[in-house]
C-alpha cells in the first residue's frame, strides 16, 4: 500500500537495499531479510526490489510484501514465473533480445523498463528512444541515474514524457555527486509518484537516495498531512547494520547516532528554551533521545545543570573555575568528558 500524500495522491517507494546487500553478503537468514522488509513496511515502504539471490534465500513471497524482480537473464524470467512474482524491472538494453522480450510478454509479466540518464541531454535522447515502441508498450518506465542534473527543469521534461507516451514514471536517482536525495525530493514535489531508493542510500556502485531522508523531507517540507511515522528507524538501522556489517557515520542525516548530541553552550541553552530553535525535527520523531555532552564548548548553564544532577550548587567563581578545568581536560582528552572525569574535576575544586 503506497504512502498517502493527501489530496488523493499516493507515493510508492521501491526499496533497492536488498539487491545491494546480497551482492556482497549472504551470511544471514531468511528471517533477517523478512524482518528487514516488515520493519521498512512500518515506515511506509512495502515494495522491495529483489533478484534471484534474494529470492533463493527467502524461497517464497511473504504476505503483505510486494516484490519487484530484477531480470538479468532468461533464467531470471523463468525463476520469476516459477515463484509467482508478478512485477519485474529490466534494463532497456536487455529488451534487444527478442526471445527474452517475447517470453516476458507471453507470461503477462508487469514490466518496468529501466533507462539510465546522466544529464538533461540524455532525457531528450530518451524521448527519441521511446518512439521505438518496445518500452512504451510496457506502460512503466524507470529513469535511473540523473547524477549530473543540477536544476529542477528535468521534472517538466519527465512529466511531458510520461504524458506523451502514457507512462508511469519511476525515478531512481544515483548519488555520484551527492544529489540523489535532492533529486528524489524534487521528483515527489513535482508530482512523480514512484521513487526507487535505498536505506541510508546503500548501494555498491554510486549509492542511491536515502529512504529515511526522503520520508523526513516529505514530512517537513511539503506542508501536507502524511501518515509517515519514523519512530522505528533505530530498529531498522540495527537490522541493516547487522546485515551489512557497516558502521554508519554518527552524523548520518535522520538516523545517525550523534545527530541529537549537543555541547555548544549557545545551542544547549536555546534548545532548552525551545528545541525547534536548532532542531528541524524532534528526536522522538525518529526514535532517538537528546543528549548533552560536557566538553570544551560547554557553557556555564550546561555545567550548572550537570552539577545539579550530582546534587551540587556552587557560586559563580567556583563555576568559572570548574568550567575552565572542564575545557582544559576536554582539550587534553580531545573529546567530551564522562561523569568520572567531571567528578574528579569537582573534587579538585573542592566541590565534592
Amino acid at each position: 500500500m503506497a504512502l498517502s500524500l493527501g489530496n488523493f495522491r499516493s507515493l510508492k517507494i521501491i526499496d533497492k537495499t536488498l539487491v545491494g546487500i546480497f551482492l556482497n553478503k549472504n551470511n544471514f537468514s531468511a528471517d533477517d531479510v523478512l524482518n528487514y522488509c516488515y520493519l521498512l513496511k512500518s515506515i511506509g515502504v512495502d515494495v522491495f526490489e529483489i533478484d534471484s539471490k534474494v529470492m533463493k534465500k527467502i524461497e517464497k513471497i511473504p504476505r503483505g510484501i510486494d516484490f519487484l524482480y530484477q531480470l538479468n537473464s532468461q533464467n531470471d524470467v523463468e525463476h520469476c514465473i516459477k515463484v509467482g512474482v508478478k512485477h519485474c524491472v529490466i534494463k532497456w538494453t536487455k529488451l534487444i533480445n527478442p526471445f527474452l522480450y517475447e517470453l516476458i510478454l507471453e507470461n503477462n509479466i508487469d514490466l518496468t523498463v529501466e533507462y539510465e540518464v546522466e544529464n538533461i541531454l540524455d532525457l531528450y535522447k530518451l524521448d527519441k528512444m521511446l518512439t521505438i515502441g518496445k518500452v512504451k508498450n510496457t506502460g512503466k518506465l524507470r529513469v535511473k541515474g540523473l547524477d549530473k542534473i543540477i536544476s529542477s527543469s528535468w521534472i517538466e521534461i519527465m512529466e511531458a514524457i510520461g504524458t506523451k507516451y502514457n507512462l508511469n514514471i519511476d525515478v531512481c536517482p544515483e548519488n555520484s555527486f551527492s544529489f540523489a536525495t535532492s533529486l528524489a525530493v524534487e521528483a515527489v514535489m513535482g508530482g512523480i509518484n514512484t521513487i526507487t531508493a535505498s536505506f541510508m542510500g546503500y548501494g555498491t556502485r554510486k549509492g542511491y537516495a536515502s529512504i529515511e531522508e526522503i520520508l523526513m523531507s516529505i514530512k517537513l517540507l511539503m506542508g501536507i498531512e502524511t501518515d509517515i511515522k519514523l519512530e522505528t528507524l533505530p530498529n531498522i538501522r540495527r537490522v541493516f547494520d547487522q546485515m551489512t556489517g557497516m558502521i554508519a557515520p554518527g552524523n548520518k542525516p535522520v538516523v545517525g547516532a550523534d545527530i541529537f548530541k549537543y555541547e555548544s553552550g549557545i545551542h544547549v541553552d536555546a534548545i532548552e528554551k525551545e528545541p525547534m530553535t536548532y532542531e528541524p525535527f524532534k528526536p522522538n520523531e525518529v526514535g532517538q533521545n537528546r543528549m548533552i555532552v560536557i566538553g570544551k564548548h560547554s557553557g556555564r548553564k550546561s555545567v550548572k545543570r550537570k552539577l545539579k544532577d550530582f546534587g551540587k550548587e556552587v557560586n559563580d567563581e567556583i563555576l568559572c573555575s570548574v568550567l575552565e578545568s572542564i575545557r582544559n581536560k576536554s582539550i587534553e582528552m580531545k573529546r567530551g568528558l564522562n561523569d568520572r572525569e567531571i567528578i574528579d574535576i569537582l573534587s579538585l575544586n573542592k566541590v565534592m
Partner: protein, 269 residues
C-alpha cells in the same frame, strides 16, 4: 568563481565531543590555507582561554587564507574578536521569529537596531565585517531584506545566508538567493546544514543562483548531521560546474584524511 569558506574550526568543532588544542587548530589552518581555501572561520574568541589564544595565533601566521571570527550580535563578543586581529569579523544575526523570540526574547526592531551598533563597532576596528543571516531558511524574506538593507547602509559588503536547521531544498535555495541578488549588489555566502542530506546539492544551487562564497567543513562535521562536506562539494563542483580546478580530488582526500586524523586521534585513557 567559487570561494570556499571553511568552518571546520568553528561549526565543525562544535560537533559534540570534538575538542581541538591550539597546535591542532594551527596545523589545520595551515593545511587549509595550502589547499587554497579562501577563508578560514577560525573559531569564537568570546569563548576565551585556549580558544581565543588559538585564534590569535592563527591570525598572526600571515596565511594566504583570510582569517575570520564568529560572533554573536553583541559588543562584548566583537571586542574579543578585535583583540585577535582577524581579517574578517562575522556577526551572526538571528533572523527567524523563532530565534528572535525564543532564543533572545526580543523583537525584529531590536535586532536591526542592535545590528547597526555592532556593525559600526566592528568596522571602526578596521576589520572587514560580514553578517550572517541566522536561520534564514525559516525567516521572513521581507525581514531578511530589511536586515541586509540596514547592514549595507552601514558598509557591509557580504552577507551569509545560513540554513541553520538544514531544511532547505535546492529550488528554495535557488529562488531565495536569486531574490537577494536581484535587490542587492553584494557578496553572498551560503552556509548549509545536512539534516535532510541535501547540503551539497543546496550549496551547488546557491552558487548557481549567485552565492560565490560556499561554506564547507572537513568530513562534513558540524552540529547535528553536520555541514556541507568539503570533499563531496569539490567533487560535485568539478564534475557538474567545471569549477575549482586549482585543487585535485587526490589533494582534497589527502587533506581531509590528515585533518580528520588530527581531530579524531585521541589520547589513551
Amino acid at each position: 568563481m567559487i570561494r570556499i569558506v571553511d568552518t571546520t574550526l568553528r561549526d565543525g568543532e562544535q560537533k559534540a565531543g570534538i575538542a581541538l588544542c591550539m597546535q591542532d587548530k594551527v596545523e589545520i589552518a595551515k593545511l587549509l590555507s595550502r589547499a587554497g581555501i579562501y577563508q578560514i572561520e577560525a573559531g569564537i574568541p568570546a569563548m576565551g582561554g585556549d580558544e581565543k589564544n588559538s585564534i590569535r595565533k592563527i591570525a598572526s601566521l600571515g596565511l594566504k587564507s583570510k582569517i575570520s571570527t564568529w560572533n554573536r550580535m553583541n559588543i562584548a563578543d566583537i571586542t574579543h574578536s578585535i583583540e585577535c586581529f582577524p581579517d574578517i569579523i562575522h556577526i551572526s544575526v538571528p533572523a527567524s521569529d523563532i530565534q528572535i523570540k525564543s532564543k533572545l526574547g526580543k523583537d525584529r526592531r531590536w535586532v536591526v537596531d542592535n545590528l547597526k551598533r555592532c556593525i559600526c563597532f566592528a568596522l571602526e576596528s578596521g576589520c572587514e565585517t560580514i553578517i550572517g543571516i541566522e536561520d534564514a531558511s525559516r525567516a521572513d524574506l521581507g525581514f531578511i531584506l530589511d536586515i541586509i538593507f540596514a547592514a549595507c547602509y552601514e558598509g557591509v559588503k557580504r552577507i551569509r545566508y545560513a540554513d541553520t536547521v538544514g531544511i532547505c531544498y535546492r529550488e528554495k535555495v535557488y529562488k531565495d538567493i536569486k531574490a537577494l541578488k536581484s535587490v542587492f549588489d553584494i557578496g553572498i555566502e551560503f552556509h548549509a546544514h545536512n539534516d535532510l542530506g541535501m547540503a551539497v546539492s543546496n550549496s551547488i544551487a546557491a552558487y548557481r543562483a549567485g552565492a560565490d562564497y560556499i561554506d564547507c567543513t572537513i568530513g562534513g562535521i558540524g552540529e547535528r548531521a553536520g555541514n556541507c562536506d568539503y570533499h563531496e562539494f569539490v567533487r560535485s563542483a568539478k564534475a557538474c560546474l567545471g569549477e575549482l580546478d586549482y585543487v585535485t580530488l587526490t589533494d582534497v582526500i589527502n587533506i581531509q584524511n590528515s585533518i580528520m586524523s588530527m581531530i579524531y586521534t585521541r589520547a589513551v585513557s
